[in-house]
């Protein structure tokens, strides 16, 4: 009898210790996951579009106006506000939105949101991005409705677009290429979605991947977007790897000019925030893209 309370106390301590251990293990894993999620949200370029283009705008609270040939879109609020943001979304909701272009109610998004590129993001990366976005402070910021011509006002039309142009495929590493190249391919083609601006689009606004990254005469905001394959005139054929690294980190072109406009936001919010290894991977991958227009 005398031994029982002791035993019970001992096992209680054991249980408490075990719980502490488990809890701290979970906390440690999630701190790591949050850091990773934060990094990936930057690498995914989420901030450049989902932050309003004015001084003092709160990052990721939405409202940026995107003028496209199909109408004017306003990027939604990605903070976890329940009314105006993505508060309350499950991992499944987030994954469906990111990789399949579907809202939690099942309705399709417009492909101005780069889900065709994001379709290749890995499960672990999607989960980490969702975890970090859930952890940032919620901001109540209602975003204006898109201003679209009458024939594009129903999002459900995009089911047809998806049928024609959307073929989600997970990223497949190419075993014949090295680690840098594969990491670069993942960053350029999927997470960083470079092709959404640098690849021309067809009449329906779908990327023409036969001219992947060869430049786009009708980029966002009406500007011309340069090619980033190895073409010497319309591409990066004259750039060295070091030129690319410096550009991705600082925004400086080889001639000493500094990028402005859409690319300056990409540099500030995305490429300058990457590790040196990831910038190198991007450059290595881009250097492998054969020129299309010049020998």
């Amino acid at each position: 009898m005398a031994a029982r309370p002791g035993l019970a106390a001992g096992s209680r301590t054991c249980v408490a210790l075990l719980l502490c251990l488990v809890a701290s293990a979970v906390a440690a894993a999630s701190a790591e996951q949050l850091a990773r999620g934060r990094y990936l949200v930057h690498a995914g370029g989420c901030i450049s579009c989902h932050t309003a283009d004015r001084d003092g705008a709160i990052p990721l609270a939405g409202g940026r106006r995107l003028e496209t040939p199909f109408g004017i879109f306003y990027a939604p609020n990605l903070t976890p506000d329940r009314k105006t943001g993505i508060g309350g979304w499950s991992d499944t909701d987030f994954s469906a939105a990111l990789r399949h272009g579907r809202a939690p109610d099942g309705s399709p998004y417009y492909p101005v949101f780069p889900y065709p590129a994001y379709a290749g993001i890995s499960d672990a990366d999607v989960a980490a991005m969702a975890a970090w976005l859930r952890s940032i402070p919620p901001v109540h910021n209602p975003v204006p409705a898109h201003e679209l011509p009458w024939y594009l006002r129903s999002r459900w039309l995009m089911l047809g677009w998806n049928l024609l142009f959307f073929d989600p495929q997970p990223f497949q590493a190419d075993p014949a290429r090295d680690k840098d190249w594969n990491r670069g391919a993942y960053l350029v083609r999927h997470l960083g979605h470079c092709g959404e601006c640098h690849t021309p689009r067809n009449l329906f606004g779908a990327r023409d991947d036969s001219r992947e990254l060869a430049g786009n005469a009708a980029g966002p905001d009406g500007g011309k977007v340069p090619g980033i394959r190895q073409d010497r005139e319309q591409g990066l054929g004259r750039w060295t790897l070091d030129d690319m690294l410096l550009f991705l980190e600082l925004g400086m072109l080889p001639n000493g000019d500094f990028a402005g406009s859409s690319m300056s936001a990409v540099i500030d919010d995305n490429t300058s925030q990457l590790t040196g290894d990831d910038r190198r991977a991007i450059a290595v991958y881009l250097q492998s893209l054969a020129p299309l227009d010049s020998p």
């Binding site: 925004g251 400086m252 000493g256 402005g260 406009s261």
Partner: protein, 151 residues
């Protein structure tokens, strides 16, 4: 005597004419000059970075490039006179719509270039690296706000 007087008059007239034409610079020439100064700044920035990031030697040239940058940088504020926002230029109308904000950004870029110059003069590599990034950010900041990107 009469001929001499005529020569004097003619010369004075020509001088007056030349004086007039410099007072009223053609906007096309003002734009051309602005672009030339901007290109010169870019060229010095490019040369500076090749040395700074160890891709060429010539450490001793660093100060020349940053001196030039600092000197040219102080000219920026007079390179955007009224009437030079149209024609062969990528400058956006916002420059003339918010002269105060534009002036602040130009002053900030002068300041960051002066800091870069001081870091180079002191031979402080870490400070030079940091200051160069700041100069780049000030270039980028203005281009982002005030320059149309077309290519």
């Amino acid at each position: 005597m009469r001929q001499a007087r005529l020569t004097v008059l003619l010369t004075l007239g020509m001088l007056a004419f030349t004086g007039n034409s410099t007072a009223a610079t053609a906007p096309t020439d003002a734009i051309k000059y602005r672009k030339a100064v901007m290109s010169a700044m870019a060229a010095h920035t490019s040369a500076f970075s090749l040395i700074n990031f160890g891709r060429v030697e010539h450490q001793d040239h660093l100060i020349a490039h940053v001196d030039a940058l600092a000197a040219l940088g102080t000219q920026l504020k007079v390179l955007f006179p009224a009437g030079t926002g149209t024609g062969d230029t990528d400058a956006l109308p916002l420059i003339w719509q918010e002269p105060e904000k534009f002036g602040q950004l130009v002053t900030a870029s002068e300041k960051s270039t002066a800091e870069l110059r001081a870091a180079v003069a002191a031979g402080d590599k870490a400070a030079t690296m940091k200051a160069f990034k700041a100069v780049g950010d000030s270039c980028k900041g203005c281009h982002d706000r005030y320059r149309k990107e077309d290519d």
